[in-house]
Amino acid sequence: MKRLGLMLLLAGCQAVTLGDSGAQKPTPQPLAARVLIGAEGLTRIYEVEAPDGFALDAAVRVVPATSSQWEIGPVSTTIPVASRTGAFDVDRFRVTNEFRNVSLVVPVRVRTAEDLEICRFQVQMASATLDSAVEATIDTGVVLAASGQPAATTSAATVTKVGPCAVDGTARSSSSQTLASLIETYTRDALLASGAQNLTVRPFEVTGILDDSVSLRRVSVFDNRRGGFAVTQRSNNVTLASDGLSAELGIGMIAQRATCAPPIEVNPAQPSATEPISPAELEAANADLALAVSAPTLQQMAETLALSGFLCQGLEDSRRPEDNAELIAVDDIGLDALGLDWLSVGPWVRASSAPGALPSLILRPQTNDFVISWRDFVIDVYADVQGTNVRILRLVTTAQATLRPQVGEVGQISTTIDALNITSADLTSDWLTAPLGPDIVLPWAKRAVLLFLQDQFVFPLPLVSPHAMRVRNVTVRDQDVAVFLDIEN
């Protein structure tokens, strides 16, 4: 279910189901996208992957003692991390975990030939630090892991017996070490041994950068909207350098047409070329990571979404008016401008839409916006007449809208319509008392399209992250659109 929720974001606020792409494995276009995760982003990845703290796991250590045997451990617990910092040291990424007031209970089994007693000792340290270098490897995906042995620094520990026990911390082993010192060493070794485990993450999985082939199917109550598409996304040239973790992404898409969309094919994928993302851009946006998606990929994504039914919307929400996002107040729609003021309708109208052709996108870096064009886009307006939800008009438009990306959204780029140019509008209705001229239809169409589509231009991020990814900035560049993101919980 959580996975489904994530896919909601991917598909632009519409429900989808995610599945194996099966035989459909689209060929990725190289350089379709690019990603850069800076030092703060990598540190953040460690934070969100271990929100409860540092997992401390160690097996039993057997120590022979006079007339008995001590079995120290095991421990499996989580200790809170006071601070976690990550920084590039030349070409290595170093992660430092700092702990304060570490306290854990270590079990000790005192085994004799005749008896077994289970004791508990509390270990307390004022502070501890674990420092490790991290490297990136490719092993069925990008893996960050500790490189070499981490270094642990701990303050002096106090070891206190908890409850009754035949031995105490001053008891000595066969090698004359006190039980307390053995427990302290065991704890320090546990910290070191767990370091490797805690420093192994898959950053693309955390950030939702797909490195696989998956299929998405549009969820709808209407069969004709149930299209879908298969996506293949593959990472290439993954490097962990002083700039951060960067990768090139190849993306391919194949649409399975929803029958509400026109029976035409997506245009062939064009060669992509994303521009490198500089650390300075990342820093200026104060973001954890950046994702640049090429213009041809965005174009293909728009066409794929249209063909797979994602632009067929409306009439699917039967919830009460207070919960129903599809309803538009009849006062806002302005039926009187069309001479329909005679029509006694309920307080709400609803619209359904369907594309008549594939949309096209043009990037405009000079104004940091883009223009989306569509042809023969159908909007049907329904109203309550005599207690019946009936279509009262159909509007077919050809238009261009200038869209300005908005920041602050999670998982998607929403836009506002800066400009709307309706080049043709055809309004048909059995309910009109007289034919309407373009002087009436065009202004009404512009208003209606704005009203119906103002919240509809939402572009999903090609990310399937288990964490919320908030858009900090969007930059329209010559070849691509760069999205700067923060990793939230």
Binding site: S220, V221, D223, N224, R226, P263, S318, R319, W342, S352
Partner: protein, 416 residues
Amino acid sequence: MLRAMIRWFPILLLAMLTGCPDNPIKLCETECALGEVCDVDVGVCVPAPLQTYDGPLPGRNSKTAGTESKVFYAAVDPVSFELLGGTLTRSDRDIRILTKLTNSRSIAMNTNASRVVVVWLGDDSRFRFATRTQDNDLWTFGVVQADVAYAGTENFAVALDEAGGLTIAFQATDRTLRVVRSNDRESWTVGLVDDGGVAANGVECPATIRGTRRPGGVGIQPSIVQAPDGVWIAYQDADCGDLRLARQVGTGWSVDVVDTGAIDASPVTQRGRTGGWSTMAVGPSGNVGIAYVDELRGTLKYVSASSLSFVIETVDDGFEIDQNANQRKDLVGAWAHLDFDSRGAPTIVYMNQSNASLRLAQRPQEGTRWVQRTVASEGIVGFHAGLVELAQGRLISGEQMVPGRMSGSSFVQVWE
């Protein structure tokens, strides 16, 4: 003129009070009932002579019903609020003004082999009825005054049994489904049919949903038939969006949830919304069918109901290929009206709300697919759809709205 009136007024007043010696006026001892006037010759209440209606037949709130050979029509004129009733033939009509209502409102109508009845809701939330026999055009009227107080709503339907007994099913103002019944059309009893509780087949509308919708409750758009084993009532549970069916069992009722419109693919709705515009009919072999609308999917459904099971079929899914070769989804099924033809084939007329057209669907034989066609598409038609299957042919009817006039309404008749 004024001076003449003043001079003659005392004489006229005297004549009215005393009566002329040769032709004495006999006042009725009690106030005459609905639809009656006092015959001052004999001093008793008699059915009022009903004025013939010659105007264009309105389609608003029109109902048709009939037997194998006779079609009855009733409607409320949306301008004058006159309740009209009478008979239709392919070439003629005999329509009377039954009474005048205070506003335009719903009516229900039913027939049996010998009688027709028209029911409407009075301003006091009690039902009124007008009835006549098949062969005599003398209408009699009544007020449904029951043993206990009740308050009806505009959601009601009427069944007439073979003995002339009436059952009116209605959603009461407390959002329950109730009936008010009479064998002699004089003494009436009120009964509770469904309070929205757990159905006999175990389906429940959760308390968290019950009562949250407006309009809500059980008993929305009811349909009622006199089945061989008793009265059946189909209706919508508007809270949960279910189709429910109440069947008379002895003196009580057994309620089943027939369809919940279970969701397999809704992005926003956790429960379906079905059971709207329910319409029932009894086939020649006594089988009962229910047609209704799945409102969430905008489809027309049909269920063959037996005492043991419900077999649900999609009659019209509303899909059409448009001029751009896109598969367009139309909303269909509103104002559905079901009847069985003389061969026993279920036939449904209904509205295509996306095209404002009047459609007919029929399943020629058990097991075959439903065949749909558009019966009328000129202008805005499909509201108040009606169907009467006759021994020879059928009458399909509905309202045609006139653009520019919300109350402009004509009655569309398609005789086949």
